[in-house]
């Protein structure tokens, strides 16, 4: 743990340095030996990637802190835990920064290896089964993504994102490559109907790790997808494909919400809520294709705000839920009666994070919904509005299932164990951040649309 904290400190220093670089000199594109054309690592740093780097740093340090206290005294697990966490974090930061497709591919696989290791730490039959299911998504998803990369390389002779953005044009083969990449990433991002691997994987692992998985890992595939669409979408994406993704997103919102309402285990409810929330992300695609520049800025801000506030809120939810489960010694929602008296702080964190999940003010989730409503009105795609409204109500339904159970006074024979106070710190901080994002959104919003790579490189 001490070692991990040093690593986190180093990470923080690097983040500050990157931020300073970004402020002083603007976006940055840097490739290892660009002239020789070796598939070395290339890096692209701009507002959006910087935002995700900060997000990763925050969530990483808090979940490492949480995991350190959660597994305190469990040396064997700690021994196997940290290098897997580091692997995931390295992979994630590489995903945010990658400047070419091969680096992206390697980064995604790095994340996947680490994640499989983390899920397997649960060390029960269910964890191994979930790990295998997750591997399924990884195998097929990345294969499809890879075929797309190879086709593009064959056509344009480059894998650099910057060069591709300049060269890419509509041909049938490019279209196929783009569709294959999209399909692969959609599978790994757990969009309905390809979501079934996600809830068991997140629900069955240890709480601080579920927090890490659901807050950041699901975002990685979506982030890549969003970047590709923002870079190339205007040229190669068809509006039908875009609308289709939007429709699937709506189904995910409704289906995920519905399934979350029907879960009997607390952590499974939170995991299905991810399926529900991921659906909102996919409203990005229909509203950046064939619309005015203004709308595409608005919807990018809305969706990215949703991504970030979901990351913060969901990490808080998982940690708080983990504390409740730890205190009760039971995973079941129906055993929560009377918990409000025993674990008020964890329940408060849960509640604050839930405000953002439900999209109620003041929270990042609320602002995100505001932007999404605005962009669907402005683009004339009014048909997303009913889902946006219904989705909010559905998430309120599953959230308040938990609260109404916890307020129930009858049959509250909750036998509780003492939960270390240190475990209640991280969820509270994360939840407060999710709420604060709804009041101080100026800087994040500005960073989101500052994505252009410096002109000098072009």
């Amino acid at each position: 743990m001490a070692f991990m904290m040093k690593a986190m400190l180093l990470n923080a220093v690097i983040v500050v340095a990157l931020g300073w670089r970004l402020l002083a000199h603007g976006p940055l594109y840097w490739a290892l030996l660009p002239s020789a054309g070796i598939p070395g690592i290339s890096i692209r740093l701009d507002g959006l990637s910087f935002l995700f780097i900060i997000l990763t740093a925050i969530i990483a340090v808090l979940s490492v802190f949480q995991a350190g206290h959660y597994f305190a005294g469990n040396q064997p697990i700690q021994k196997r835990l940290w290098w897997r966490v580091l692997m995931v974090l390295t992979g994630l930061n590489l995903v945010w920064l990658a400047g070419d497709l091969i680096t992206l591919y390697v980064a995604m696989e790095l994340v996947a290896f680490g994640v499989v290791g983390l899920i397997a730490l649960g060390d029960q039959a269910e964890s191994y089964r979930s790990a295998l299911r997750y591997l399924n998504a990884v195998l097929l998803g990345t294969l499809s993504f890879l075929i797309g990369i190879i086709l593009l390389y064959g056509i344009y002779g480059t894998v650099s994102l910057v060069s591709l953005e300049q060269q890419i044009q509509w041909t049938r083969l490019t279209g196929i490559a783009f569709a294959l990449m999209t399909a692969g990433l959609v599978y790994r991002a757990a969009l309905f109907p390809l979501h079934s691997w996600l809830p068991p994987a997140h629900g069955s692992s240890h709480a601080p790790l579920s927090a890490l998985l659901s807050a950041l890992v699901t975002k990685a595939s979506f982030y890549i997808l969003a970047r590709l669409w923002l870079d190339w979408g205007q040229v190669v994406a068809s509006p039908v494909l875009a609308q289709g993704l939007g429709v699937l997103g709506c189904f995910a919102i409704l289906w995920g919400g519905w399934m979350a309402c029907r879960q009997s285990e607390l952590k499974m409810l939170v995991a299905y809520s991810s399926v529900n929330q991921v659906g909102y992300f996919f409203l990005l695609f229909p509203m950046i294709i064939g619309v005015s520049y203004e709308v595409s800025l608005l919807v990018t801000q809305g969706v990215m705000l949703q991504v970030i506030s979901h990351a913060l809120a969901k990490a808080a939810l998982f940690m708080a839920a983990g504390n409740l489960v730890l205190a009760l010694g039971s995973k079941e929602i129906q055993h929560l009666s009377g918990i409000s008296r025993l674990m008020p702080l964890s329940l408060l964190s849960f509640g604050l994070a839930a405000v953002s999940i439900m999209g109620l003010p003041p929270s990042g989730g609320f602002l995100a919904k505001w932007y999404l409503l605005q962009s669907s009105l402005l683009s004339g795609q009014w048909w997303w509005i009913p889902t946006l409204i219904l989705g909010g109500l559905l998430s309120a339904t599953y959230i308040f299932r938990i609260f109404s159970q916890s307020f129930l006074e009858q049959g509250s024979e909750a036998v509780t164990q003492e939960v270390p106070k240190a475990l209640e710190v991280a969820p509270l901080l994360l939840a407060l951040m999710a709420v604060a994002l709804g009041l101080f959104a100026h800087t994040p919003l500005a960073l989101m649309i500052d994505m252009e790579v410096a002109d000098g490189i072009r």
Partner: protein, 95 residues
């Protein structure tokens, strides 16, 4: 040109074979074999492009990366599967 067509035809055939295997088979050993067949197909496809794109360091690099990633994924899948089967005595068929 002949070589390229041959490689691509072969690659597409293998891809279809692997995909069918992946879709039909429920147990993880057969699935991972199917996955490896598909990976081979992808490598062949890549090799097909190597005929036209002259960029040797890039090609070798990508080849190595792909082989590495495929073997790690295979190893991970097999180890998860063996945990499930040997420690918990469960079937490794995907429900």
């Amino acid at each position: 040109m002949m070589t390229q067509t041959l490689l691509w035809t072969l690659s597409i055939l293998l891809l279809l074979l692997g995909a069918t295997g992946f879709a039909v088979k429920r147990d993880y050993v057969r699935r991972i074999i199917a996955f490896n067949i598909m990976s081979t197909a992808v490598l062949l496809m890549f090799a097909g492009f190597a005929v036209t794109v002259e960029d040797e360091p890039m090609l070798t690099g990508v080849f190595v990366v792909l082989l590495l990633v495929t073997s790690v994924l295979t190893a991970l899948t097999l180890s998860m599967r063996s945990q499930l089967v040997s420690r918990f005595n469960l079937s490794d068929r995907d429900r």
